[in-house]
Symmetry: D3
Subunit: 280 residues, 6 copies
């Protein structure tokens, strides 16, 4: 179950309200890189973790609830940045106010009355497809490191945009939490294996029997350059692969001898034929 | 530029056509875990890689083109599984044929005449939001390991579903390629750093100045359990963090002293007030 | 069947074209609160109303056709606001024209040549999921009051934005129609019951047998505050409930004794396990 | 802030797992009528409630957290219904198992390894556009009564589908909570006004000045029947309107004298003209 | 304005209700090839037609209203096919009823109580992006021929699926209307030009000045085969082009001498660099 | 299979970077009228073409690969237009820079670090539903002429917007390619028939037996004007239809004698009834 109280995790102050920054902050609420995504992602992942991994389930639930608190902080930041926003063309004939009204996230006024919305910075609604929860903890941990990397990158770019001290302080906190979250998911990734090596659970899913995959092609880097090239000697074209289970090599797609494309005439019932049926 | 020829990378044979498996294969074409996503993801990532990392750009373009070939293979597999599919209720009164017609991906017949479509297995169209390309190579590599983990997991589950020898052979090939792709993106991730350590470029983005983030909260695991708990001694609640830049510790959210939520009366122009304006 | 003529319901004039207001008006065309939504909503609801309620079906069809006329009015308003809009950066070097071009709904020029589009103000296409039609008239009437409340709120905010006399006149008309539509759906809601009381058909659906629902929890307000609280004495924590079928009371979620989460080990065929299968 | 513990609100048992019912339950998780929607809806509404209405804010937050617990219950129900689901065509040659595999929510296996997903019963991802939060509490309360009516209707239909005692027990609980939630939002709606009358805050938004709306058309029922009809004497074509501020009357759209549609030649820069520019 | 009456354009009878055919029919209501799309497409196109083309505007409005009537017919067909549909697993233990329940469009029961919905056959909601209205009548007429071709193709495939006499009769009517609509839009396309030739208004938009386009590449067929090929002598690689304004020729992409890809180092403020800033 | 090299098809230069034009260009990348759509459309269409039409399959694959090259060119144009874009409010206090920041495609900075994205100009992600591939080549060719008409129209409007010599040069090239592509798909359309006449394969699909469609209504233009009108004598209300298989005539919808709408009482299990079950 979930509980709530009326506190924010960290103070949210805005010295100089900026309605355009309110638009930008939406990316961190309802965007692909946002907090609704991570909150729901950890929630759904947790719901699939079996009891033998209960410690990871608890970590996922802990952070799911923490992220709900981040949505609150960001919604507060949006509302404070929208204080006094221009909403009338008559009052914003030209200059900075007119440009601000031109660039407003229109639904922050029209749909929600100067409050945060479950959309991204372009006004695209949050999409459940952002949420990755595969049932496999190793795969999920990569999805989480990815999400927190994208989230931290977004927060640093928002930090770059603003020079409001309150916003910088809030973002410095969120950036710190993303640092932590990246580290904790990596720690769990390593904990899942039998050694300190993070790639001990690779290739994901590691539970698929090795002998069932095609052993001829599983460590070949495939160049698709239209000219057959020779091995450039990169870290991914030779030497031991990071999973410790094979040696990289280099092939050219052009030399593959797969199969020539051939497609038979479709069934008449599809009405795929562009012409009338032939009479005899 | 891109080029093409009329060959498939690897043979695609179906011994016993199964229209329901044709539906399942759509997940690997137009789904979140599918080949359209990785093809477009590597394509857009490559378009942002600067010249000093040209070797990674070439690797991304190589694999983008390879994945286009995988879509072709899967589209072939779909078409072959739909050979002779029941498309008339009169010809499928009951039993297996009726159930197959009940479970058909309806648009594989109605919209495309028994061919593959740019949708997932549920019929949801491919979405550009699946494509992650951040401009930051470390972040992108995590997105790629995630994508290939999800893709390999999907392929193993499809392998579990079928016992058609042709489909098993095709999937064993695709699983092998996903093994390779996981390894090659990890290899690039390690290559990006200055050591063999994959977390040398952490926290992502590593180019944000350390001193600007909130140093008080960047290595604290935050428990949100409604009861204040003590440190459970997990790998993510103490010890050195994987990025080698901090020590994990453990805190309870309940003890944070952020800020009490307080929201002022909105501006009349928002018409947020549920009541008519007060007259004096 | 549906018919048309070449008249608008009400005059639409624009004295001072404003391409940014053309963008805002899109919310009332293709947005969640817009006219495409209500037109389609009343249309689909009508298609489910049985003959014993034919008078409501006629009312729904009447208003569906009326709303189609509102889309026309708004499309006219969009086109008139886009007259002479800046579409060339060379002709809009800076100032108000440059800001207007910066804030333009880009697809109103690029996709439709300075005309209205089936999108909202942010450019997000109309979505069939906005349309609520449940088959149950009481539930549908609430959806309609909600839609008309959101629509009227939107129209008042658009009214706030503009001071163009033509636009004010058009919006004053649309606001009036939303007043009427709210009232007519409430009138039908009351008419559905056996008394003047609007909650006579509650809880929706009222056709579900009372004894089948869990009688222990159906009038308890559940506090989820992390601290067990005592009854605050609000109108929803005590006294007779509005449906006249129960007495409100107050409980704390924390005291519920449901079930501890427990999840068994998944089947190997899911490949959920992050580790290879154990050998003995 | 939000907190969590490892308890479910109410027990969730499944005696006879049914993978098709697992698909149906998704509607109550990620569908328009589902729990993700109400949880997020109450969360975003609360974030806009000013301090003078703090008691409503607390009620919204209380129920937001309660609904998160309902997602958990439903995710548990999905997982338990998927126990032992057929996932291999070889093991489900025909009969009930084959039909179950045909009808499976494909992504419940392929994407999540037999767990719940953030989608509806058709596999369509949850969409932020389901979430209605307008900044106006009266409008929001109607959205909430609508949401809980749709939710209770869905739960009764799910109840109709199943005869598993565990599922019936869980649904009886959720139906009870939907009864309560309908009542509590109605109670708040009434509490918002200055009388016991629920329509005291009508028309929504009641804060828009009456004199600004078009007083000629705000209580006219408009028939759009292609034949001019006379007043049918319904509750919405005459008598006092429910908001107590006007008298219903009846008009025929056909008699309106708005404006004839007229559209000038577009600017050449739109390239709207289907023909080449005329030379002189 | 739009008007309605209580008649269907053409009778809709179902002799043998088939809930799975009800699912298939949804493609013709809310799908890409469906009637909501054409109704809205003709409606939005009409709203952009200037007075000098008023005869085309009237034709578009005529057919927009006609298509609304087709949605009604199809909604009726859906409802009649859902009469007596299995909605309880207890009543559908196995066989045909169980398979029908497995294959049901779940929301036709769960969301709408056995009625039509604004979705396609897979349950994906109607999307405004299906609607093409460009402001240019020649472009719009092609979009319309495309829409009616796709619509007629869909109707023939639905005809193939069913052998219910009522459904065949309804579909034969809809197929006939699609024949007419294809022909009428072609007739308008020809009417737009100054000759009987349909390609007299090509290339679309014909109002763009010829001399401004790149005259070197506008009639070259470009082979992208990875091997430089010679002209295959097809109708599109030589001879006069259909627009009568150029001669086709044949080139190989491989011989183009465009530009080598080169991307400079990004600005530090993007945080695109995967590494920390270098110190000196 | 697909191959790549590191060349662009045509040079892409930007003399005067314009971040707002970078936003506009997104429409040509990930929009309905964009290059991702045509690349994927030709790719999926090709995958359905049977061997007897192999020459069309090769043409589709040739142009699919060419369009991938256009995405590259446009991504390059976006990146070059974003060089030096304002990304900090402190550095863009007012004037042109502030307006540019107000109008920025926010995700081009926040999500991708000043690079192109798989979205349209409004930030809406690319959608697989844009891709039309029906299995019927005649229908597909119309979809392709439509796509290239929309694409060329978009390119001419972008040309209208800019006066940057590099951008004009790139667009002049893309406009030329769209001219060619329109012509080549028309050439294939004509080639599909047995005569030079493009409508020789009409009505699409021409493979449906004529006698099965309703011969009474397949050449009638249907006026839906609310007043029964007489034949206006247009090219689509009389004379031979373009498919050469019928004569146009003119009817009024109002005179149709279809069927009066009648809907029976729904089954109690739907809970559609707004009232409790009646007791006796």
């Amino acid at each position: 179950m979930f509980y709530q109280d009326s506190e924010l995790q960290y103070p949210v102050e805005v010295e100089d309200p900026n309605p355009l920054f309110a638009k930008m902050l939406q990316q961190a609420i309802g965007g692909l890189e946002g907090e609704m995504r991570v909150a729901m992602q950890y929630f759904f992942q947790a719901a699939a973790v079996p009891d033998e991994h209960a410690q990871y389930r608890e970590a996922l639930r802990d952070t799911a609830a923490e992220e709900l608190g981040h949505i609150e902080m960001l919604a507060t930041a949006v509302r404070k940045n929208l204080r006094g926003a221009p909403t009338s063309f008559a009052d914003a004939e030209d200059g900075r106010d007119f440009a601000a009204l031109a660039g407003l996230h229109p639904r922050q006024f029209l749909s929600s009355g100067l409050n945060a919305m479950p959309t991204d910075s372009a006004g695209v609604p949050f999409n459940g497809a952002y949420v990755v929860a595969t049932g496999n903890l190793a795969s999920d941990m990569y999805a989480n490191i990815t999400a927190e990397s994208g989230g931290r990158l977004l927060a640093t770019r928002l930090y770059e945009m603003t020079d409001d001290p309150g916003m910088e302080d809030m973002l410095a906190y969120l950036i710190a939490r993303d640092t932590m979250h990246q580290n904790q998911w990596i720690a769990i990734l390593k904990d899942l294996g039998d050694s300190e090596e993070p790639f001990d659970v690779h290739p994901v899913p590691d539970s698929f029997p090795n002998e069932a995959e095609n052993q001829e092609f599983n460590y070949d880097f495939m160049s698709t350059n239209r000219e057959a090239e020779s091995d450039p000697g990169e870290a991914w074209t030779g030497g031991e692969a990071p999973d410790g289970k094979g040696e990289f090599s280099f092939i050219n797609q052009i030399e593959l001898d797969g199969q020539t494309i051939s497609i038979p005439t479709p069934d008449p019932g599809t009405y795929n034929s562009p012409k009338p049926p032939q009479e005899d």
